[in-house]
């Protein structure tokens, strides 16, 4: 980036903030194809505030930014710990939010938990509370989100993903059949579902969760979807004994979830555990396909091909013999 581009960027960013303070870019968190994330210093009256700017890379992502800003505001109002928004430019597809201290890398957080098991319990109850609050965000403002509440519709969606793969995956086919055979008959009101609540997408300190991030996969759905996702073996990062994210127990998560007003449904929890394991297995299989088709050339995507079998195993164990 040239000095001129840099100056243009900081001017544009400053224009989004109230009072048009001075803005300095202090670092680059990520340079995705979809989105740039920059660390900023916002300087006003000799006071420096650390901030984060997310800048959409294209029109599609700009629409997501608008949605994300709306959600962050809704989540904050509902009492979820999220970074406070300092400014949004919908046309430019940019959100500037306050910088929150905390660790995001899962293995580092799990090392902290190993050193202090009490932190694990704290993270489990923070997760339960945060999810219960997310599920209580009023849905009126979010009617445009995709609705995946019904188990029938979710099974159809999984079959569609399966059909889009160019190689057969009998284990996943078995998974779709299981989802259909065990479909849920609950009639429930759709809630806001985060869609990717797990280590890697939250910030944590030695005090617990400091912010819930990464709202890109948010949709309307069954609250048990979020809870089940957090409990998949794949998100325990090797700490398999601790069912919840590799850091806590199901009892701790459940009791915090219920205490904060969430309703726990065992049968639905199990159904969604199967459904989300299937979804992630299909996700990895799609990464492999992108690699094989030449659409992506990262060795990490190629290596995903050898992880699909883990999800197959998890799926078979969860489905049991029926």
């Amino acid at each position: 980036m040239s000095a001129k581009d840099d100056a243009e960027l900081t001017t544009r960013l400053a224009a989004i903030l109230p009072g048009k303070p001075e803005v300095r870019v202090t670092g680059v968190a990520s340079l995705g194809a979809q989105r740039r994330t920059l660390f900023l210093d916002v300087i006003e009256n000799d006071q420096t505030t650390k901030a984060v700017a997310q800048i959409a890379g294209n029109v599609l992502d700009a629409a997501d930014i608008e949605k994300e800003a709306r959600l962050l505001r809704g989540a904050e109002k509902a009492g979820v710990v999220v970074p406070r928004i300092l400014g949004v430019d919908v046309e430019m597809g940019t959100i500037i939010s306050e910088h929150v201290d905390g660790e995001s890398i899962p293995r580092r957080i799990l090392r902290l938990v190993e050193a202090s098991p009490k932190l694990g319990s704290q993270l489990a109850s923070d997760s339960g509370r945060a999810l219960a609050m997310i599920h209580q965000i009023p849905t009126t403002e979010f009617q445009d989100l995709q609705d995946l509440t019904s188990s029938d519709r979710y099974a159809d969606e999984m079959e569609r993903l399966l059909e889009s793969l160019s190689t057969p995956h009998p284990t996943f086919r078995l998974g779709v059949r299981w989802l259909r055979r065990h479909k849920l008959n609950d009639s429930l009101e759709p809630v806001v579902v985060h869609g990717d609540f797990r280590l890697g997408n939250v910030l944590a300190s030695d005090q617990g969760i400091t912010a819930v991030l990464d709202w890109e996969l948010v949709h309307l759905g069954d609250p048990m979807e979020d809870v089940a996702w957090l409990c998949l073996r794949t998100w325990r990062f090797g700490a398999d004994d601790l069912e919840v994210g590799g850091f806590g127990s199901l009892e701790e998560l459940r009791s915090a979830y219920e205490k904060a007003g969430g309703e726990w449904r065992d049968e639905a929890f199990h159904w969604w555990t199967v459904a989300r394991t299937l979804w992630w297995g299909l996700g990895l299989a799609r990464q492999v396909q992108a690699y094989m088709d030449g659409d992506a050339n990262s060795i990490v995507l190629a290596a995903s091909g050898r992880r699909v079998v883990e999800l197959e195993y998890d799926l078979l164990c969860l489905m049991g013999d029926a």
């Binding site: 057969p168 009998p170 086919r173 078995l174 055979r181 990490v300 050898r306 078979l316 029926a322």
Partner: protein
């Protein structure tokens, strides 16, 4: 006649060189890539040893399950199983569950053989 060192010896040496010599000299994203590649070498080392037998065992189990002729190929059998599961009669839930339970047994054995190559220790 193939030359020496053979594939397993070379893959083992490649993994060790990456882990012991290259990894300490790298950082950040490169470090992650080196770890991934070293792990892939170890997967391939195990695959060279156990892969052919694992595939043959699955091939035989699928031929039995699907009543197919004894020399049907593995890709054909997998495609046939997938088709059978896709066309399965979901109106008779009991038959369905019985068939799925037989399929599950064969698939689980195959998955365990693949895990022994791709991620030893995962199925325990």
């Amino acid at each position: 006649m193939l030359d020496r060192p053979d594939a397993t010896t070379l893959l083992k040496a490649m993994a060790e060189t990456l882990s012991n010599e290259v990894l300490p000299a790298t950082s950040g994203g490169t470090r992650h890539a080196v770890r991934v590649v070293a792990n892939l070498c170890r997967i391939l080392e195990r695959e060279v040893v156990a892969g052919p037998t694992a595939s043959e065992q699955t091939r035989q189990a699928l031929a039995d399950l699907l009543d197919d002729h004894a020399d049907a190929t593995l890709p054909d059998l997998v495609a046939k199983l997938d088709q059978a599961l896709r066309d399965g009669d979901s109106s008779s839930a009991t038959d369905d569950a019985t068939f799925d339970s037989r399929v599950r047994k064969v698939i689980l054995a195959d998955v365990e053989r693949r895990l022994a190559i791709d991620r030893p220790g995962y199925a325990s």
